[in-house]
């Protein structure tokens, strides 16, 4: 690692320069280096430099918030691959799912990952909310972050619900028919809300188009923005811990 060897080997010196320009600091061998790395790295900047030891105990957080975010990333990536093949048309959607399962390389496992991660995310987000409640972590000054969290739970449910329709099989269409029927009892906007959701009176092409656009663009984008604010506030308010 001495600089002398680099001077003798220009390729190594160049590689070292490139590496050093990307990663400004080495491995966290001391607290000082670790702190500088966390401060200057974009991805690590999501965290404060130091945290209370009690706040990051696995038995305290159960990793539920982090796992929810991880599942969101896993869903985004697997969903991207599914989008290469999926056709949001009443006539072709079902066949494109069959193609994903039987023709596309690793398509079956990619669809399975997407499906099971979606169920898992509903569970982890919900458990994360329960964990935060039981630890009273929503108390001042974190009240509004709880509100953002409930919005994120709602978006998670809507993401899962809109994705449910896309395979256009019997399970999808009838679950959405029953699900949107539940919404029509809502006050004032109830009967209208079903019409707006489906873009008509029945689950048809208009509903598939709406659910597809909401599922792949609108809801993930809205969810991502709220997540960024959620994390930013966690960082600014400090981690709770210490119960």
């Amino acid at each position: 690692m001495s600089s002398g060897s680099y001077e003798q080997n220009p390729i190594k010196a160049f590689a070292s320069e490139v590496w050093g320009s990307v990663f400004r600091h080495g491995l966290p061998t001391t607290d000082k280096v670790a702190a500088r790395t966390a401060l200057t790295n974009f991805f690590l900047h999501i965290h404060p430099v130091r945290v209370k030891k009690s706040a990051i105990r696995v038995s305290y957080t159960l990793c539920l918030g982090g796992l929810s975010f991880f599942l969101f990333i896993a869903l985004t990536i697997s969903g991207l691959f599914l989008m290469f093949y999926y056709i949001p048309s009443v006539g072709q959607a079902y066949q494109s799912i069959k193609d994903i399962q039987y023709v596309a390389t690793f398509g079956l496992v990619m669809r399975n990952i997407h499906r099971w991660a979606a169920h898992a995310m509903v569970i982890t987000v919900w458990l994360h909310m329960a964990r935060v409640f039981y630890q009273g972590a929503y108390k001042p000054p974190r009240q509004f972050n709880w509100v953002i969290g409930t919005a994120l739970l709602l978006i998670t449910l809507l993401l899962s619900f809109t994705g449910y329709l896309l395979p256009w099989d019997q399970l999808a269409v009838w679950a959405i028919t029953v699900g949107t029927n539940l919404g029509k009892y809502g006050p004032i906007v109830g009967p209208v809300s079903r019409y707006i959701m489906l873009g008509g009176r029945n689950v048809g092409q208009a509903a598939l188009t709406r659910f597809y656009v909401l599922h792949v663009i609108a809801l993930p984008l809205l969810g991502f923005v709220l997540m960024v604010i959620h994390f930013w506030r966690v960082r600014k308010d400090g981690f709770t811990g210490g119960l």
């Binding site: 702190a35 030891k53 990051i56 329960a130 899962s160 679950a175 539940l182 009892y185």
Partner: protein, 187 residues
């Protein structure tokens, strides 16, 4: 000095100051609480990189292994192509909405579809503003924890009932647990 540190801790436990030592503005009753400046050595801290990042990495890795293992073994469901002329019986909403479907089975639509879910949704959003208790200790929060536990228990119970115990016409059904009588008898 130790006494001072413990008073900081007590104030924080009581929710009167934040982890950064800012006084919390929750109302006039707390405005007389002393503003306590955080003392660094009071609670043990670690650098997030690598301590927290490492835990996040391991939990993500574990989840990825779990997801892959499940996805290799169990296929996502895909039934017959959609046919609006053939209604499956029972027709069920996705599992996380089965609680709502269960409510509609038991109560008139206005209560099940508007009042109950509305109360849960609005109540959930307003939790931090309704709960004026500054303490975070479970022994001080018996009411809040009790109410939330009732909600959690009912939500989980309704989802399990909707998934397992609701058969044709969404009526009560033991078949999934005990086996369908028609499948066992030689009729």
């Amino acid at each position: 000095m130790a006494q001072e540190a413990s008073s900081v801790r007590n104030a924080r436990r009581a929710g009167m100051i934040t982890t950064r030592g800012h006084a919390v503005r929750t109302g006039p009753e707390l405005s007389s609480a002393p503003l306590v400046v955080r003392s660094r050595e009071e609670e043990e801290t670690v650098v997030t990189f690598p301590h927290l990042v490492w835990k996040e990495f391991l939990s993500g890795l574990a989840m990825m292994v779990f997801l892959l293992a499940v996805s290799v073994q169990v296929n996502a469901p895909l039934l017959q192509p959609a046919n609006t002329a053939v209604t499956p019986n029972p027709a069920k909403a996705p599992w996380y909405f089965l609680g709502l479907q269960e409510l509609l089975e038991r109560f008139p639509p206005v209560m099940a579809g508007v009042i109950f879910p509305g109360m849960v949704l609005v109540g959930m959003v307003l939790v931090p503003y309704l709960d004026r208790n500054p303490s975070r200790r479970p022994e001080d929060r018996k009411l809040a924890i009790g109410l939330f536990t009732i909600y959690v228990t009912m939500a989980v119970a309704f989802v399990i009932i909707g998934t397992v115990f609701r058969g044709p016409n969404f009526s009560w059904y033991w078949g999934q647990v005990l086996g369908h009588p028609g499948l066992n008898s030689k009729v």
